[in-house]
Symmetry: C2
Subunit: 332 residues, 2 copies
């Protein structure tokens, strides 16, 4: 056992708007002890995601985080103590470890990680919850098919990158949106999408008019707010809109309204609300469908990895300012 101390990040106070590092606190506690049937896990990779801001605001379906509470999150861990035959010491598992170095779990709260998923951090990104989110949205809900024109915001982020590649591999035409030239270049040159709108410098509505002269077939909404309005006004007939994230609202105390419903009537849109938890039972199906492409090098994930649990607040604040570049992960 390398340590007897467990470093953790708790919420210090409710952020006002975009969170700052002082909204979080680094605390230390003794190493927890695995009880009967439990495992003690050491975190190797922790996933940071925008929905956590919504948990802090008390608006997320997974529950609320209040000052003093441990920040929650999914992680890939190594089992370092085990009182269950299901997960021997040394096993690599996925669990809701939270923002801390060590955590204790009941055996049924821990999942095996498919050893074919490499690098291991991909179990949190491309082949993890963000990948599953993108697959549920683009494949199971929107049924993206060859020739569909798809708009994907935050296209260099965790969910966006996965979605873009899943769509490209199905023969769709993908237009992305990202914050900055470097991200846009990556999206076009590395991911291979057709074009990427730099939302910080370009007129998004005008670019959408140029890039989708006949309207878009699929809009994957990770944002809400004005972009949802702009996309909904530019849908092709029989478009699909997947409502999944609310980045435009996460830092705000108020909630943006949705687009005028007439836009969706005119395009005969089908709009799906997506919560990835509903698809947990199909995770293995998703991984099995993607593994051949992953192993053939046709799927990749840029990761924005910081080191040590103490780096989590800064990494999360960057994420909530849109300054991350790739899926945000904390390595420990």
């Amino acid at each position: 056992m390398a340590s007897t101390i467990n470093r953790q990040i708790t919420l210090a106070r409710y952020p006002e708007g975009s969170p700052v590092e002082a909204d979080f606190e680094l605390t230390e506690s003794n190493l927890p002890v695995a009880g009967p049937g439990q495992v003690l896990c050491r975190t190797r990779f922790l996933s940071l995601d925008p929905y956590m801001r919504s948990q802090i605001a008390g608006r997320h379906i997974s529950g609320t985080i209040a000052p003093g509470d441990l920040m929650r999150g999914e992680a890939v861990c190594e089992v370092v103590e085990s009182n269950t035959s299901a997960f021997p010491v040394g096993a690599t598992v996925r669990c809701m470890a939270g923002w801390q170095e060590y955590s204790v779990h009941e055996a049924d709260q821990v999942q095996k990680v498919n050893p074919d998923v490499q690098p291991e951090s991909y179990a949190l990104s491309l082949m993890g919850m963000t990948g599953l989110t993108a697959w549920a949205a683009m494949v199971w809900q929107a049924a993206v098919a060859e020739g569909d024109g798809v708009l994907i915001p935050a296209v260099t982020g965790g969910v966006g990158t996965a979605a873009a590649q899943f769509c490209l591999n199905r023969g769709a035409r993908v237009i992305g949106i990202a914050g900055g030239d470097e991200k846009c270049r990556f999206a076009v040159d590395e991911l291979g999408i057709e074009a990427c709108i730099n939302r910080k410098e370009e007129d998004v509505a005008q670019r959408l008019d140029e890039l989708f002269p006949s309207g878009m077939d699929v809009y994957f909404d990770l944002i809400g707010g004005e972009l949802l309005n702009q996309a909904s006004a530019r849908l092709a007939l029989n478009a699909r809109v997947i409502l999944c994230g609310l980045m435009a609202d996460y830092n705000s105390a108020t909630r943006s309204p949705g687009p005028p419903p007439g836009n969706w009537i005119r395009s005969r849109a089908i709009v799906h609300g997506l919560v990835v938890y509903d698809f947990e039972s199909r995770r293995d199906e998703f991984i099995a469908a993607c593994l051949p492409d992953l192993q053939a090098g046709k799927l990749k994930q840029r990761e924005d990895i910081s080191q040590g649990v103490k780096s989590a607040p800064e990494a999360f604040c960057r994420l909530m300012r849109g300054e991350n570049f790739g899926k945000v992960i904390v390595a420990m």
Copy 2:
């Protein structure tokens, strides 16, 4: 031939807000003449519908009506002159006759009326476009099933009445909304729905909380505006929302925003934009499915029938003020 004069209603000027009779003009012209392959039709029943207000405002997908233009609309007519073997003199047909007594049509712009649909005006209401709208929404899109809790606004109107009965016949629990006690009594006592909210006297949001303590499974949106917000905040898991009408906006120069998308994410809603024209090819299938219930007396339609083409403006203005009671039809 009973007449050599064709009385017509044209748009006199763009209405401001809710239309008034002076926005329309009664004009007279000579009887049109059926050319080769054409039929001359005498209107027996003309359908008046809220979407016409949207045509006047230039916001309807079927096109715009400008001052001086004939008001458009679907009608059941008798063929009084025929130059096509497809429709002999005396045939009862359905066509886009407009607000006038006589109209000329190409043979392929005229449809036979199923003689089993009685009374004949039902070809414009329960077994016509309003019925088809309700069937497409509740049966084909929302797939209403036994036990579903369904909210239907304007429940004594053309589309609402049809939708309520289709849902009841499938074993759903139907809650309606109507403007006034008399309409609400009719909806409960005659249509047989469980409860009807009087939107003019009751607190709609509070009544929805009482009537749908676990949320509604289906909301059939004929209204938009605040009611769409209120319903969307009270959806059960896996709810379906059918966006079909915008009564809240038809008289307005602006368009109401939609509900915050988070409400639809949380409920994993599936939202469909509905334009009834898309289902025209399935009209016979719809009528065949409904005829047994119609002939068994299990489907009925209250109609708000006025007499003569000159009554159309007043009837339409009442409709746009929500003062009609039943499907609005002009008999000639």
